[in-house]
Assembly symmetry: C2
Homo-oligomer: 270 residues x 2
């Protein structure tokens, strides 16, 4: 009989394998997350439950109530993304595409120059430019596995990680941009810019650096999970708890596993 | 005999009470944190280990190495704060004070206009304007208390909270600004601005809103911890595990406790 962790893991894996859209806004797992998701799910005590590989977004805040009691995070009524992408190839040029109607939404630039900041108050609907880094949630079988994963993530710089309820580990890092670039001019629903278009190009450039820093950290995390959790686990499983595999034993085992994979592949191709 | 949690708690409380500077850069606990710290430490199963009530800061990145292998977070060699404050009264006017030498450090504005963004690359030492919200670390006696505190924090919007090693709970919320406002012009060590001074005033105004949103959330957290953890605990302690105190019993007890405090105070004053 299966315990509840195994049942949950099976159903999550089935969903990941399914060709249908998942429940996320984007409808599928970010390609950059696939290797680490696959790695983690290869461990009998872990299963990934949600992920984002990192993204750029431009968000228009919603209408705010008169007592300025807006939900922190500033969503409000009618807040919406003017642009969002997980793909660094979409970063450069997003602003041109937005004002020329090449995105889902076209928004005109406001003629009004921002030379009187006193017009802005709690009611202003700001436009925010954001970069948000990789985030991953992993459900673990027990608190021992959760602690191990948490410590591994912390040890390679994912300093905002934490264990939540029911051994659900959130892996987070602080690589961010959070920049107000303009506001909605409600007189004609246009975008009033606080900054120059050159500044926006500079943000794009900085965002590409963030994408690359983020990818490096994901890679580092992958290697650390592989060496400290997955291989440890394989060694334990294949050799019994008290025996630590030597370098030579490991080399032999890896070679054998490789040959076995080749053989299976050959069978499939015939 | 005391267990290790009680020993640690005693020594932390002694340090908090001590008139000497603590080990934080600022040397003391932020005034705004004191009520919630006192509340949490009144519980026998929790002790606060570090805190920040929220702050504005302006950071000059350090020198970067030629292969752009800068530590994520961008500190590098010689990175330093041009300005930092936990006090919202210091927000407005920081920029004038910086360029007029009324802060620890005076920095001149660069004459060079930013009209060619191609000069910026991985080597540029950016100046970053940041708002960072309240953060609190609480060491808990056991995983039951840690889970209770974690769930309480999550339930009032501290969505980036997490439990770390040894039942250390980090309480975090996402109220942030992270804005590149300029760079160090290394030809004469001056500050080249990417944005207008008006934009900086606007950031200051938005920062005041962040300070206020942050204070509201801290208040909400205080009330929730008081009602869901501290009072629950008092009820349990004073009435035994199986008895839930009625409203009238609680009113009576509170009155009695109040009279007792008054009597002690009177004694002390005589």
């Amino acid at each position: 009989m299966q315990n509840s962790f195994d049942q949950k893991k099976l159903s999550i894996l089935a969903e990941i394998e399914s060709p249908q859209d998942d429940l996320s806004p984007k409808g599928s797992i970010d390609v950059l997350c696939l290797p680490i998701i696959k790695l983690i799910n290869s461990h009998p005590g872990m299963v990934t439950t949600s992920s984002c590989s990192g993204r750029i977004s431009v968000f228009l805040e919603g209408t705010k109530s008169h007592n300025n009691e807006v939900k922190v995070g500033g969503k409000g009524q009618g807040g919406r993304w003017l642009f969002a992408s997980h793909d660094q190839d979409n970063v450069v040029g997003w602003f041109d595409r937005l004002i020329h109607g090449q995105l889902d939404e076209k928004i005109a630039l406001s003629e009004s120059k921002v030379d009187d900041i006193s017009i802005f108050d709690g009611m202003t609907r700001y436009v925010l430019y954001k970069y948000e880094p990789f985030i991953l949630h992993v459900k673990c079988r027990d608190s021992e596995v959760a602690s191990k994963l948490y410590n591994t993530a912390m040890s390679c710089g994912f300093r905002e990680s934490g264990i939540g309820s029911n051994n659900l580990v959130a892996i987070r890092i602080n690589i961010k941009l959070d920049v107000p670039i303009g506001y909605l001019d409600e007189s004609d629903d246009s975008l009033g810019l606080f900054v120059t278009e050159q500044y926006i190009s500079l943000l794009d450039k900085m965002t590409l650096t963030k994408f690359s820093d983020n990818a490096k950290k994901m890679n580092q995390l992958y290697n650390k999970i592989e060496s400290d959790i997955i291989n440890q686990n394989i060694d334990t499983l294949s050799n019994g708890k008290d025996h630590i595999e030597t370098f030579e034993e490991r080399r032999q085992r890896k070679m054998k596993e490789g040959l076995e994979r080749q053989r299976k592949l050959k069978e499939l191709n015939q």
